[in-house]
């Protein structure tokens, strides 16, 4: 328990946020939390599995669309639509995993990208279902236990609760024997086979689990915005998630959280001054990969350790 106190402190600090900030910041914090869950799910694949994915927006987007469509077309309330959307998206993740894991490394990346692009293009063109470029609007937030989540702080606490559970479960996963095996396949896949591990199966299960949490972030996303548009399925969205993981530091639990905050804050503040967000995003990619490839969290950890050993 002793090394977990920073997390507890963080949780308490985050919980107290609405008491000291205005609505704008509370909403921004909600967005950061949602993005953090999304980035963390990507990290399961990239950081712990060694599988770089450029198509994770698929799970966010599909879960969001499923929830929206179940509500708009079949009148199912968000609360009941949630498990259906999650199951549907997770099954899709299983199928996508079967295809994508036919290759590793670059091939795997291309396949995840290709599958994601299929969904993205379909969302634009299948106008009868998705209303194409108009997106689906007028959606409602769920009312768990009858609580109204329309107010900023109420929704924030809801998101914080779900986000905390998500990160905690991912942490358990990573610290388990399965997680240790997964990390082994990231570092020495051949050796792991020779030790008796079914590398493909380990990866596939992780893929599904990562897809599940991506779907969870998708639900939070659509609840927050009350709107979904094909752009949420875009390569740019997947790339931003990937950037958050890399900027913060893949292979650590805190990395994606820090990275998500950085990317979200950048987006929010800088895009007010800089019209070309895409160009800036591009520059950030290049700068981070070339100058800070390990990301913020490992860099800071290193400095902290050096500081500790000196005092």
């Amino acid at each position: 328990m002793r090394q977990h106190w920073p997390w507890g402190l963080l949780l308490v600090a985050l919980a107290l946020l609405p008491l000291v900030s205005g609505e704008y910041y509370i909403n921004l914090a909600s967005q950061i939390l949602i993005f953090a869950v999304f980035a963390s799910s990507i990290n399961l694949l990239l950081g712990y599995g060694g599988l770089p994915t450029l198509g994770h927006a698929s799970y966010l987007g599909v879960a969001a669309y499923l929830s929206a469509l179940l509500g708009l077309k079949l009148g199912i309330s968000p609360l009941f639509a949630a498990p259906l959307a999650l199951v549907g998206t997770t099954l899709m993740a299983a199928a996508f995993g079967l295809v994508s894991l036919r290759a590793t490394g670059l091939g795997f990346l291309m396949l995840t990208l290709a599958l994601s692009q299929v969904l993205w293009g379909t969302a634009y063109r299948w106008v009868s279902m998705t209303d194409g470029d108009n997106g689906l609007r007028g959606l409602a937030r769920p009312m768990p236990f009858g609580l109204n989540l329309d107010q900023a702080s109420a929704f924030y606490w809801f998101t914080l609760a779900i986000g905390a559970v998500a990160i905690w479960l991912m942490a358990v996963f990573v610290a388990s024997p399965f997680g240790a095996a997964l990390r082994g396949t990231r570092d020495q896949p051949r050796r792991m086979s020779a030790l008796g591990y079914n590398v493909w199966l380990l990866r596939w299960i992780t893929f599904i689990y990562a897809g599940f949490w991506g779907a969870v972030s998708g639900l939070l996303f659509v609840y927050y915005h009350k709107y979904i548009h094909p752009v949420s399925l875009s390569l740019t969205n997947s790339a931003e998630g990937l950037l958050a993981v890399i900027a913060g530091g893949s292979g650590t639990l805190a990395g994606p959280l820090v990275g998500a905050a950085i990317v979200m804050l950048l987006k929010n503040y800088v895009s007010a001054y800089v019209e070309r967000w895409n160009m800036l995003l591009g520059f950030v990619f290049v700068v981070i990969v070339v100058f800070m490839p390990e990301g913020v969290v490992p860099g800071v950890k290193r400095l902290w350790r050096r500081y500790i050993s000196r005092t």
Partner: protein
């Protein structure tokens, strides 16, 4: 060359836009294509030397960096040339349809097919049959050994990269009369290029050729029959082929 490069679509688009600008002063498509190709080649060379060189075998790094550059280029084109599509005029002597066996074919598109075949053959001969091509292949297979035998691997790699960029840039201009130059051209071209390479198999020119044909045919007919599912049809051949043969149709190794 085993470099993961997602910039190619953007290079194509950049080429198209540069061609458009050139043609405003020199209304000759072929000259524009040449100048475009050269300019994009230089840009490509700079990218390879200054950025990609530092990333070595870091595949994820290459992907992210080239993706970033693609984003930058896309926005750059938007700023410089604006958001409206700019048409590229077809050369005058190719504007009339050609009659073959009683059917009318658009002359320009036929010309593009001919050009593509010629370029394909030239590339194939270059890579497979010339000494220079052999040196390049040696450098890709075993970099250190090739260097040890005196092959200037770095120089060759940069040259090949520039060649690829040049073809993309020139291609953008040559494709101009058919596709115009518009924001999002890169996003439309890149998946096509990736599909063709993965479907055909990494490292195989024949694969790229066959891949293009298959993709082209399936896509054109598919879009005519099921327009709503255009994107699915576009990616379907690649997904099916990879599912059964991870190295693509003619690939030497799984991507």
């Amino acid at each position: 060359m085993r470099i993961a490069n997602l910039t190619h679509g953007a290079l194509y688009m950049l080429g198209a836009y540069i061609g458009v600008s050139v043609m405003r002063t020199l209304p000759n498509l072929w000259l524009a294509a040449l100048l475009s190709g050269l300019t994009v080649a230089v840009f490509g060379g700079l990218v390879e030397r200054l950025i990609l060189r530092r990333l070595g075998g870091n595949v994820l790094g290459q992907v992210l960096v080239t993706l970033g550059i693609a984003f930058i280029l896309a926005d750059f084109c938007l700023v410089v040339w604006g958001g409206d599509p700019i048409p590229v005029p077809t050369p005058a002597f190719l504007q009339q349809p050609v009659r073959i066996a009683g059917l009318a074919f658009p002359a320009y598109r036929l010309a593009v097919v001919v050009i593509a075949v010629i370029v394909g053959i030239v590339l194939f001969v270059f890579i497979e049959k010339t000494r220079l091509g052999a040196m390049i292949r040696a450098g890709v297979d075993d970099r250190d050994m090739a260097r040890a035998v005196g092959i200037p691997v770095s120089l060759l790699f940069t040259t090949v990269f520039c060649l690829g960029a040049a073809l993309a840039g020139a291609g953008g201009v040559i494709g101009g009369p058919i596709m115009s130059a518009y924001p999002g051209l890169d996003a439309d071209m890149l998946p096509l290029a990736l599909i063709v390479v993965i479907l055909g198999g990494v490292g195989s020119l024949i694969g790229a050729f066959v891949g293009s044909f298959i993709t082209g045919f399936v896509y054109t007919f598919g879009v005519a029959l099921l327009p709503d599912l255009a994107y699915v049809i576009l990616f379907l051949p690649m997904i099916l082929v990879i599912a059964f043969r991870p190295r693509g149709l003619f690939g030497k190794f799984a991507a």
